[in-house]
């Protein structure tokens, strides 16, 4: 069966996106726990911060694949989120480790609601894009098939 680079990037995106969905789920749950006082903000930040960069990097990786395979539509679809991620990390509080969450300001109601909303929006975005990638994968295969025949 034919398997071109586009299809490859889509199947990778599909797999990675599944991970991202879990990331954002974890994110949402973590902030919900914070809001309901189940967790100490210091511990919560310690568990959240290590996951921030991996998420950003994974997201960028399959977009690089999209760029390489010429899937411009998919790339543009993701560009706003990439820009948001870069900006978010650029404006993070002063900290020595990785991550963007600061336990001293995370309990601020503004921050908390913002982070929670961000988690939900990302979850929705990743879910939608999951199906989009699936669709893109099929289309890519179909196109390949048509070219062959």
């Amino acid at each position: 069966m034919a398997f071109n680079f586009s299809a490859f990037s889509y199947i990778i995106a599909l797999i990675v996106d599944a991970f991202l969905i879990f990331f954002s789920l974890f994110h949402v749950i973590a902030f919900d726990e914070l809001k309901t006082d189940y967790k100490n903000p210091v511990e919560q930040c310690n568990s959240l911060n290590p996951l921030v960069l991996p998420e950003y990097i994974l997201h960028i990786v399959f977009n690089v694949l999209f760029a390489a395979s010429g899937e411009w539509l998919s790339l543009f679809f993701n560009l706003p989120l990439i820009a948001y991620h870069i900006n978010r990390y650029r404006t993070r509080p002063v900290m020595s480790g990785y991550g963007i969450y600061d336990p001293t300001s995370i309990m601020n109601a503004d921050q908390l609601t913002r982070c929670q909303r961000e988690g939900w929006i990302k979850l929705a975005f990743y879910l939608l894009s999951f199906f989009y990638y699936l669709y893109g994968y099929v289309i890519a295969l179909e196109r390949e098939h048509l070219e062959q025949t």
Binding site: D37, P41, T104, N108, A109
Partner: protein
């Protein structure tokens, strides 16, 4: 920390669960609280208005008793009334506005009595506001259609009215007496007996014009009815006002006469009013008419009261039947009002405003009456009924009025108004505003109103009526409006809201002349301390039980019902708390079971309600809880039975001695560790010797018990430990050179028991300055020292005190100098944020181990406070800063010594947590202060000190319309220095308000400024300094705009109107822009700026305000000043506070500036020789040296006066402020002059220029 928290307040979530149980109304109705709630917020406001009690009393005195009775009655029977009003009010903003306009009109008519007006006006304004709020609802119903702006609300009015009337009718209908009672109650509720007094002419006129037509069928003269109601209200208000303060008996009598005339007219009133109504028609613009119409029916029932309205219709004045004593001779009013209006207009801002205020107060009554009538016809009706049936009651209540009423009050009475007006003014004047001058002229018009006022004066809430009146007035005539405007100034919000729709551009313009036009008030500062506004819960017992504003203070004395309303008011909602303040009286309770709500863990407090003697209902989550048997026992009287006698129920600030379940570990001992910087800079500054001397003196006074431990650690580029082991002859020093990976050289004897090793400790303190006297090590390893301190203290927790003199430039946490001295005055300030997160992370570690770190910074160079302060900010510590410290500068040394002594000996709480709970529907949004936020409502405070204050922003997440009050409870769980676990609980209860006027008029300007300052600091850290400055200016603009909006004024109006309660806001904001934290243009060291910002976040409000806007007093003529007696029974001269401008300085004077943390005295070159010799103890002017920082104690009266005065100022501080006497020709005078923040400084605007800027921005 976490452990204690868990223990203290394990379950916060439960509250929400119970939230579901929102059976507020019913439950509350049964409970006492509901009663408190009964009093409509609108009613309450009058008190809040800040009207000095003295001002109000006159009216109250007569009325008060009635009021109380009423309130009680109302409580018993009338939870619903309150509720209904609020609902109505919400529903019918338009009406409110209309009413407002009417009130304003009325007010204007009343205006004539300038004298009385000022104070009373304020009161009345509050009352009006309150009244208005209530009335509004009703008014809304009636007027909706009429109300121009708020028509939407108003439109439904008929229905609304119906509903409200029905209630009223029900109440009223049953028995006249009942009705009367109801009316009384309603009045009381509103606090505006005045309300009853028919709204005066203006309202009547307006309403009559509009509604009269509509409802004419029902009521012969709807307008009349309305007027009556309005007038009644207004009169009541005005009367109350006038009575309360201004109205001398004679004046009252006069007023009464007029009122009587009016009332007579009113009595017949309705009819008369109708006749009068024509005039109202002319005024038609006022929406009040509609309201009046609706209300009229009820009023008609009340018939007599309606006469008041007739008064409004001055044209018919005479007619009126005196019988209706209640109804004030409204007939004259029109004429009166017109004159008054004319008068007012004539009187410019000053004179007129008062009159307008008076009018407003009068009007307000009207408005109130209208609003009440509208919103609660029942109220009006009751009033009316009182009037009619109970003319006697009215008389009794308002004897003066009755008297007035009795005499046939004819329009002619109006001419006589002066006296009457005076009376009115008194009532009105009692209202906070006071624009005496203009008012008298208007008096003629006012007389009627005044009469009404007189009647109502007793009723407290002239204010509401005033609003209505204002609305009416505008309708009546612009002239009237002017007076009203003045009054409006006081009550502007109320009036505006009601009048908003009604008010027309012409009106607006007229109103523009408000006496509280900032641009026309050069001397805005009161000569005495600004008192915090009172929270009025409607019950004396509850008001007394409420938390002291010194401890717990909200930016508003009424909480907006919805977030949308808060948004409209554009005021920050938040609390400032000083939880561990040193208190003179604090009930301490030790019991087996601390009674708390099982759901939300709220401590029982004075604002809970008892379902029966065995159960109580939580006022935060509304869960019903069991009372333990023990709680039936009253420890004071040693009797059983009545739980309400318990101290927990009698005082909202209380301390419990916590049983074992509040401890996760045995209470820790007091442990103190001192980290001493001994680098070269530190030694050069010479602080070490001073420190050691003070420590030696105060060692025995350090709080603690037999377990108290103490330790010392010196550091430069190495760490110097001191082992104080038993058996040593002298301290044993161990130096650790490895600062990258710190360790403890010995496990024991670094922290030792203070009692056991006192001698060794003293030896060490004597040795330290010598030991390090010749250090030339330029490095300072603060980070390593803190790490090792954390290791030493970790197992126990405690307090680490750091004395830092140099930039920590070595080892972990090293920072480099970031400040560019050339950028000190630039507009954009960089480096406000920490350079690294080492100190913050370490602080969190410390916090988890119950270790707090306090900083004493005695730097002569940049030490990057922005970075190193993190160690204190997040561990609950405090930061003290002594810039450019040198032991050779006596002024600085004096300040350092006093601060250090206070620090060492003050009370301290260890391993503390503070949880702040609030009523369901509210949530804490952001905390300000030094702490670590452990969860949404829990602050971790390893140490808590009596000088630490906190702020929090509150957001409204759910509609509060089914609550009459909301509560905030702060519980501080701590371990005392004696090893006792204690809980200090503060509970603050605040009523809920539903109208914009109420909200704006309930603002606490000082608290608003305190919170804004904290928010601005956050903004400057997160964004930039210029953003923060802009936000502050926008806050001022928003407030003014919101107020203007609430006045419903067009864009064409001139001037910068502010309500009484916010008149200093612009001044404070212009001052804060010149505060070291936010100023630009003048050279400010980065460290000083950051420290100033930290102070803004952590200082208690009084000190905060003094640092923003210091108090300046003239002290060269203390012998001529007012004298008060202090606690030691010594006479203390109390000079008036001066504005901070060079205008107030004189060559021949000496001036004292109290900045909170220091006191400056500027001596003018031509000050009298006697003052120099006797008071200051110097031979001549030239011998005042630059280091004159202590006034000698001499044996002469002027010296004693000065000392008494300075001691009096110091009494309010936690420690005596260092004093600095400055000659006018000394270079140090700049220190004094830069505090004159109203003047133009370098690049910053003067206060007047700032106002001009605001004016261009306010839309």
């Amino acid at each position: 920390m976490s452990e204690p928290n868990g223990v203290a307040m394990p379950q916060t979530t439960p509250q929400y669960q119970f939230n579901g149980i929102s059976s507020n109304n019913t439950s509350r109705g049964s409970s006492p609280l509901p009663q408190a709630s009964h009093i409509p917020s609108s009613q309450l406001p009058p008190l809040k208005s800040g009207i000095p009690p003295s001002q109000l009393p006159p009216t109250r005195s007569s009325v008060s008793g009635l009021v109380r009775n009423v309130s009680q009655l109302s409580v018993s029977s009338q939870n619903t009334p309150n509720v209904s009003p609020s609902k109505f009010s919400t529903s019918t903003p338009n009406e409110e506005k209309l009413r407002m306009s009417e009130l304003s009109d009325n007010a204007s008519s009343l205006v004539p009595n300038p004298d009385v007006v000022p104070v009373r006006q304020y009161v009345s304004s509050d009352a009006l506001n309150k009244n208005i709020a209530l009335p509004k609802a009703s008014n809304i119903n009636s007027l909706p259609s009429n109300t121009i702006s708020d028509t939407p609300r108003a439109v439904p009015s008929s229905q609304l009215n119906m509903s409200t009337p029905s209630r009223y009718f029900n109440e009223n209908g049953s028995n006249f007496t009942n009705v009367i009672n109801g009316s009384l109650q309603s009045n009381f509720r509103t606090e505006t007996p005045q309300n009853f007094i028919p709204m005066q002419n203006s309202q009547v006129e307006k309403k009559s014009g509009e509604h009269g037509q509509n409802h004419s069928g029902k009521q012969t003269n709807p307008t009349l009815n309305y007027p009556q109601q309005i007038s009644t209200f207004s009169q009541s208000n005005t009367n109350t006002n006038s009575f309360s303060r201004n109205t001398p008996p004679t004046a009252n009598s006069q007023l009464v006469s007029t009122n009587q005339l009016q009332s007579c007219s009113v009595a017949q009133s309705n009819i008369i009013s109708n006749s009068q109504n024509p005039s109202p028609y002319t005024f038609s613009g006022v929406s009040t008419l509609n309201q009046t119409n609706q209300t009229h029916p009820s009023q008609f029932n009340l018939s007599q009261s309606s006469t008041l309205s007739s008064q409004n219709t001055n044209s018919k004045p005479p007619v009126q039947v005196p019988q209706n004593t209640i109804s004030k001779p409204s007939k004259p009013r029109y004429p009166q009002t017109l004159p008054s209006n004319l008068m007012q207009p004539q009187i410019p801002g000053g004179g007129i405003p008062p009159s307008s205020q008076y009018n407003a107060s009068l009007h307000n009554p009207n408005l109130l009456s209208q609003s009440q009538a509208e919103s609660s016809q029942s109220y009006l009706n009751p009033q009316v009924s009182f009037n009619n049936n109970s003319m006697p009651p009215n008389q009794s209540f308002y004897k003066p009025q009755v008297g007035l009423n009795g005499p046939a009050s004819l329009p002619s009475s109006l001419p006589t108004k002066p006296g009457i007006s005076a009376n009115r003014y008194p009532a009105q004047a009692q209202v906070p505003l006071q624009n005496p001058p203009g008012q008298y002229p208007q008096q003629q018009q006012y007389p009627q109103q005044q009469q009404q006022q007189l009647h109502y004066p007793q009723q407290q809430h002239m204010q509401y009526p005033q609003q209505q009146q204002k609305a009416q007035y505008p309708q009546q005539q612009q002239q009237l409006q002017y007076p009203q405007q003045q009054k409006q100034m006081q009550y502007p919000q109320q009036q505006h809201s009601q009048t908003g729709p009604v008010v027309q551009s012409g009106f607006n313009r007229l109103w523009g002349t408000d006496s509280h036009d900032l641009l026309q008030l050069p001397n805005i500062l009161p000569t005495t301390k600004v008192q915090p506004p009172q929270i009025n819960l409607g019950q004396d017992a509850l008001n007394k039980a409420n938390c002291s504003p010194e401890v717990f203070r909200c930016t508003m004395t009424k909480i907006p019902e919805t977030a949308a309303l808060l948004q409209k008011a554009r005021l920050p909602l938040g609390m400032l708390i000083h939880p561990f303040k040193d208190l003179n009286y604090l009930p301490v309770i030790q019991c087996n079971v601390i009674v708390r709500c099982r759901a939300c863990r709220t401590y029982i407090n004075p604002f809970v309600s008892f379902v029966d003697s065995k159960r109580w209902k939580c006022n935060l989550c509304y869960r019903i809880n069991e009372l333990p048997e023990e709680f039936q026992y009253d420890p004071v009287s040693k009797t059983y039975g009545d739980p309400s006698r318990r101290p927990e129920i009698r005082s909202s600030t209380i301390e419990y001695i916590a049983p074992a379940e509040y401890m996760l570990r045995p209470p820790q001992p007091a442990v103190y560790l001192f980290l001493i910087d001994v680098s070269r800079l530190a030694i050069e500054s010479g602080y070490l010797e001073i420190l050691c001397n003070i420590l030696l003196e105060e060692l025995k006074n350090i709080p603690g018990d037999a377990r108290t431990q103490i330790g010392f650690l010196a550091y430069d580029s190495a760490l110097h430990f001191f082992s104080l082991a038993e058996g040593l002859n002298q301290p044993h020093e161990m130096t650790v050179l490895d600062i990258e990976d710190v360790f403890l050289p010995t496990p024991d004897n670094l922290l030792v028991n203070l009692k056991d090793r006192l001698e060794l400790v003293e030896d060490l303190l004597k040795l330290l300055p010598v030991r390090f006297g010749n250090t030339f090590d330029g490095s300072s390893a603060l980070g390593a020292a803190l790490q090792v301190a954390h290791k030493m203290m970790g197992p126990t927790g405690g307090r680490v005190t750091v004395f830092q003199a140099a930039l920590p430039n070595i080892g972990p946490g090293a920072v480099t100098s970031r400040e560019d001295p050339n950028q000190r005055s630039s507009a954009e300030v960089a480096h406000l944020n920490p350079a690294n997160d080492f100190y913050k992370k370490l602080a969190l570690d410390c916090s988890a181990q119950q270790v707090a770190v306090d900083l004493f910074i005695v730097n002569s160079q940049y030490v990057d406070i922005a970075t190193i302060s993190g160690i204190s900010r997040f561990s609950g510590g405090c930061i003290n800063h002594f810039p450019l410290f040198k032991s050779s500068r006596p002024l600085l040394v004096d300040g350092f010594q006093k601060c250090l002594r206070r620090y060492l000996t003050r009370k301290i709480g260890f391993e503390a947590v503070m949880r702040v709970r609030c009523t369901r529907g509210l949530s804490i949004h952001t905390f300000h202060g030094n702490f670590f936020v452990r969860s949404t409502d829990l602050l971790s405070l390893p140490n808590v000190s009596p000088d630490a204050a906190f702020g929090m922003q509150v957001s409204i997440e759910e509609n509060l319309s089914d609550c009459q009050t909301v509560c905030f409870q702060a519980a501080l769980l701590y371990t005392s220095s004696k090893g006792e676990r204690r809980i200090r609980v503060h509970t603050l209860c605040i009523p809920v308000a539903s109208t914009l006027n109420d909200i704006i008029h309930s603002a606490d300007q000082q608290c608003v400024v305190g919170l804004l300052a904290k928010m601005a600091v956050d903004r400057s850290m997160q964004s930039s300094l210029s953003d923060a400055r802009e936000a502050l200016i926008n806050a001022a603009i928003d407030c003014l705009s919101a107020y203007k909006f609430s006045l419903n004024m067009g864009s064409g109006s001139s001037g910068l109107l502010v309500p009484e309660c916010l008149k200093l806001l612009s001044l404070y904001i212009s001052a804060i822009l010149k505060h070291a934290a936010f100023r630009i243009g003048s050279s400010t060291r980065l460290d000083d700026r950051v420290k100033a910002m930290i102070d803004l976040k952590t200082k208690p409000l009084p000190l905060l305000l003094q640092s923003i806007y210091p108090d300046m007093y003239p002290i060269h003529n203390l012998e001529n000043q007012e004298v008060i007696i202090n606690e030691e029974e010594e006479p203390v001269p109390l000079p008036p506070r001066l504005q901070l401008t060079a205008r107030c300085l004189e060559n021949k004077g000496a001036f004292l500036l109290d900045c909170g943390d220091q006191i400056l005295i500027l001596v003018g070159p031509n000050v009298s020789k006697e003052f120099l010799n006797e008071a200051l103890g110097v031979p001549d002017y030239a011998s005042i040296t630059d280091s004159f920082c202590e006034i000698p104690l001499l044996d002469n009266p002027s010296n004693a006066r000065l000392h008494n005065f300075i001691n009096y100022l110091n009494d309010e501080k936690s420690y005596p402020a260092p004093l600095h006497v400055i000659r006018d020709n000394s270079p140090n005078r700049i220190v004094f002059l830069e505090k004159l923040v109203e003047d133009r400084l370098e690049n910053s605007l003067s206060y007047h220029e700032f106002l001009q800027h605001l004016k261009t921005q306010v839309k």
